[in-house]
């Protein structure tokens, strides 16, 4: 597979603790196996725990890129939390950006320690749609719970990313990476979770 453009700029956004740094590493490792030059930068918001985290992933055949995507240069955004998806779409998105977002919201306290009122989810999704050329809205957590564990939500999203066909990798290239990361036993389950994610974007 070849790249539709070089570099491809992928953002994975979430909340500290959701596991997006690990997700970025898994996606990056799979691409590196196909001889792409990969750079990843994890950009944290103001808070260490429970704060915003965005992993900037740069994929190129030609040269090494930096750990920061310049403003407005994201090609693909994977959001693990709706407001976090919107946060990075508004900063790094452009009219061609394609976006996958999970539906489960995570509430927060603000910097003064007060609870923040979570915005209306439908408005968040319509905003993401307005800023992207194509959007896949996925109940990753709901599907993960059906499959047995909340943590599968991340693998559902990686599956969805594979399913869009936007990146030069497939489910086969994920297998050795998942075995390395989780061992043989977890792998069988993870592969079926990945397939579920692929199905969800193809529906």
């Amino acid at each position: 597979m070849t790249l539709t453009k070089d570099p491809i700029n992928l953002l994975i956004a979430g909340v500290g603790g959701q596991g997006n740094v690990r997700m970025a590493e898994i996606v990056g490792s799979a691409l590196l196996q196909s001889d792409y030059l990969v750079s990843i930068g994890d950009v944290l918001g103001g808070a260490q725990r429970g704060g915003s985290v965005a992993s900037h992933i740069r994929i190129s055949k030609e040269t090494r890129y930096g750990p920061y995507i310049p403003e407005g240069q994201a090609d693909i955004i994977v959001g693990m939390e709706p407001v976090e998806t919107l946060r990075v779409v508004t900063k790094y998105g452009n009219p061609g950006t394609m976006t996958i977002t999970s539906t489960r919201p995570i509430s927060s306290v603000d910097i003064f320690g007060r609870r923040v009122n979570y915005p209306d989810l439908d408005l968040v999704f319509s905003s993401i749609r307005e800023m992207s050329s194509k959007v896949w809205i996925i109940d990753a957590m709901g599907e993960a719970l059906k499959l047995g564990k909340p943590i599968y939500a991340n693998m559902i999203l990686i599956g969805a990313l594979i399913g869009t066909g936007l990146l030069p990798f497939n489910i086969k290239s994920m297998e050795p990476i998942l075995i390395e990361a989780f061992g043989n036993e977890a792998d069988t389950k993870n592969m079926s979770v990945l397939r579920k994610g692929i199905d969800l974007v193809k529906q």
Binding site: D35, G45, G46, P70, Q73, T90
Partner: protein
């Protein structure tokens, strides 16, 4: 098998910058590695520690950075290549040792010091550019531009250090240390090291040893001469190169992460034919001849670097020494205001500077789209503030402190310092910290406040520190307070681990960096040896801890110590993998909006595990987030929260 022990030269792996640095030291045949945890440097030692037994290297966490440097120096004196790694605040602690190691000789082993800056203070409390310290102390300094180069430079510096007999330094930053990148591996040597100290007493020359910077002026001269030799070596270093047209309209000179951002900025602005890049890796001493050749290429020079205008000033020095008839060049960068001298460098800052200098317009996005994006951001996207983890003992400790100070009623307050607990500057710790500086400064500042009685000062002073900070630098401040009879209460928030930097063990944990059992040095034994009264309590027992603290608020002319002891919840959860209790709220007992408690558990105690059911108007437990600690049970005025049997 860990990625950094793969012995297949030429193979590419996705490595964290810090892993690449660790790998570079392995490719150089390192024998000893030391450090003190500090973001963004910790993973260098973490990675080496996890491989120490397999690779027959010795790795330790020092009690603080000064001792860590000295341990590494001892190894180098005995011929063992050694590495020491720390964050920039750590170099401040270590600089007394480094300042006297630098002009002397470091021995045949070689000592490479890796110092990680944190521009933007992402995991730090100030901004500081350590390159200034390297220059002040006459230490050769390299600055890598990506994880691959971080590995190559680390490896190369070991050779330079052993050859020149001096400490050599690698300056990394968050976006190098914590970036992941494709790294091509080199060969792993299997060196058998043998340690021997060769400067034993010699009756013919009894006063002479090279491991000493005396006589000061002579050794300083030797150090200056050594830097000249290093400068000459740097002239032909492969870490410096030029790319671009022969006669560029603008010459961009850059180093570190600035190089990779500059390349991208030039590409986005399509300036490949107009702008040339001189990328420098050998930053101090600067290779002057090389720089002079390139300074003659253009009349406009833009300097791109992260944090201080360090390279910029050095380049200006070189420019000042150009021949009198050389054309005058104009420097753009931090001094001209085109690039900020604070905060993180980002590709967008380089794009903006280039566009301004060359009179170009660059729109990252079409104006209407950008305007809409900003509107939506302001309408729906909120800032996520910091909070102690669910089940964190510090939340309970600061609840106790807050209540004890209020019950005491004399406007007492808390001095603080560096660790997870400094989040008590914010709402999650009820804003209890009123001062916060460096490691150990809580006790130092309290020791000062505690001597102001003769000026009418009568407010209770509580100093808080973590267990690792206690060993690192609270001990001298506490001894100062004992010796000088200062009136304050020290609370040690003992969670038995250095949590903030990634759960490293410390002298109280009873485990070494490489996982061996060692005798824990208990905090109470140290305090009791100073003749101090020590109380130990469990912060989850809110009532008893509050009473204990209230009793220790006064003590005349000696500090008091209260140890709030409870294991870090994340460590407990990793080990036990389950909640200690199922916590439930009885909706019949929770009075909700009508209670008058003002949503006490949810809005005041404010644990992320507690949520508010807006429809029912009552508190609720978020099962996915609650850790099951049960502290909130004692917070509810109506006993609506309980443990389910």
């Amino acid at each position: 098998m860990a990625k950094i022990e793969i012995d297949e030269p030429g193979k590419s792996e996705l490595l964290l910058g810090n892993e690449a640095i660790a790998r570079g030291s392995l490719e150089a045949g390192i024998g000893v590695a030391t450090g003190y945890p500090g973001t963004p440097a910790s993973e260098i030692i973490d990675t080496l520690a996890s491989l120490s037994k397999k690779l027959n290297i010795y790795v330790e966490w020092g009690v603080n950075e000064k001792v860590a440097v000295e341990v590494a120096a001892g190894a180098s004196f005995a011929g063992i290549p050694s590495l020491t790694a720390m964050k920039y605040n750590g170099l401040n602690v270590a600089s007394d040792a480094v300042a006297l190691l630098s002009p002397g000789n470091i021995g045949k082993g070689g000592l490479v010091m890796v110092v990680a800056d944190d521009p933007g203070g992402i995991s730090s409390d100030n901004e500081q550019d350590t390159r200034n310290i390297a220059r002040m102390l006459e230490i050769p300094l390299l600055e890598p531009s990506d994880p691959q180069e971080a590995k190559e430079m680390t490896r190369w510096l070991f050779g330079l250090s052993a050859e020149q007999g001096c400490i050599c330094m690698l300056r990394t930053v968050t976006r190098i240390s914590h970036a992941r990148g494709t790294v091509k591996l080199g060969a792993l040597p299997r060196k058998q090291h043998r340690a021997y100290f060769d400067e034993v007493y010699n009756p013919a020359m009894p006063t002479l040893t090279k491991y000493n910077p005396n006589p000061a002026s002579l050794m300083h001269l030797i150090s200056i001469e050594r830097m000249k030799t290093v400068r000459e070596k740097f002239e032909s270093s492969p870490f410096n190169w030029y790319s671009g047209p022969d006669k560029p309209g603008l010459l961009l000179i850059t180093c570190g992460i600035g190089w990779i951002y500059s390349q991208e900025a030039i590409k986005l602005l399509k300036l490949e034919g107009r702008v040339g890049i001189l990328k420098l890796g050998t930053i101090s001493p600067l290779p002057e001849k090389l720089v002079k050749v390139h300074l003659a290429k253009a009349l406009k020079i833009l300097v791109v670097e992260e944090m201080d205008p360090f390279l910029e000033r050095s380049l200006m020095e070189v420019a000042a020494n150009l021949l009198p008839d050389a054309p005058r060049v104009t420097f753009y960068g931090k001094n001209s205001g085109h690039i900020d001298a604070y905060g993180e460098l980002k590709p967008d800052k380089v794009i903006k500077a280039l566009a301004e200098i060359l009179g170009l317009t660059y729109e990252a996005r079409e104006a209407r789209y950008a305007k809409k994006a900003e509107e939506l951001l302001n309408a729906y996207v909120f800032e996520r503030g910091g909070a102690f983890c669910p089940g964190c003992p510090h939340r309970a400790s600061f609840w106790v402190i807050k209540n004890a100070l209020r019950l005491d009623g004399r406007n007492g307050f808390v001095t603080g310092d560096i660790g997870c607990y400094q989040q008590a500057l914010m709402g999650t710790g009820f804003y209890q910290l009123r001062t916060c500086q460096s490691m150990g400064s809580a006790a130092g500042v309290a020791s000062g406040l505690g001597k102001l009685g003769q000026f009418g000062f009568n407010q209770p002073v509580i100093a808080v520190c973590g267990d690792s900070t206690f060993y690192h630098s609270t001990i001298p401040a506490l001894i100062n307070g004992v010796y000088n009879q200062a009136n304050f209460t020290l609370i040690v928030l003992d969670n038995n681990v250095t949590a903030m930097t990634g759960f490293q063990p410390n002298p109280g944990t009873g485990i070494t960096a490489t996982g061996e059992q060692t005798k824990p040095i208990t905090i109470e034994a140290i305090c009791q040896s100073l003749g101090l009264h020590v109380e130990v309590c469990d912060p989850f027992d809110l009532d008893n801890s509050t009473k204990t603290l209230l009793k220790q608020m006064d003590g005349g002319n000696a500090p008091r110590v209260v140890i709030m002891r409870r294991e870090c919840e994340l460590v407990r959860n990793r080990r036990e993998k389950k909640k200690p209790y199922q916590i439930v709220i009885d909706p019949a007992k929770c009075k909700g909006q009508d209670c008058g408690c003002n949503r006490y558990c949810y809005a005041v105690f404010n644990c992320p595990g507690l949520i508010w059911d807006e429809k029912a108007g009552k508190a609720e437990i978020d099962e996915a987030i609650c850790s099951g600690c049960g502290v909130c049970i004692d917070v509810c005025p109506h006993k609506a929260i309980s443990r389910r049997a």
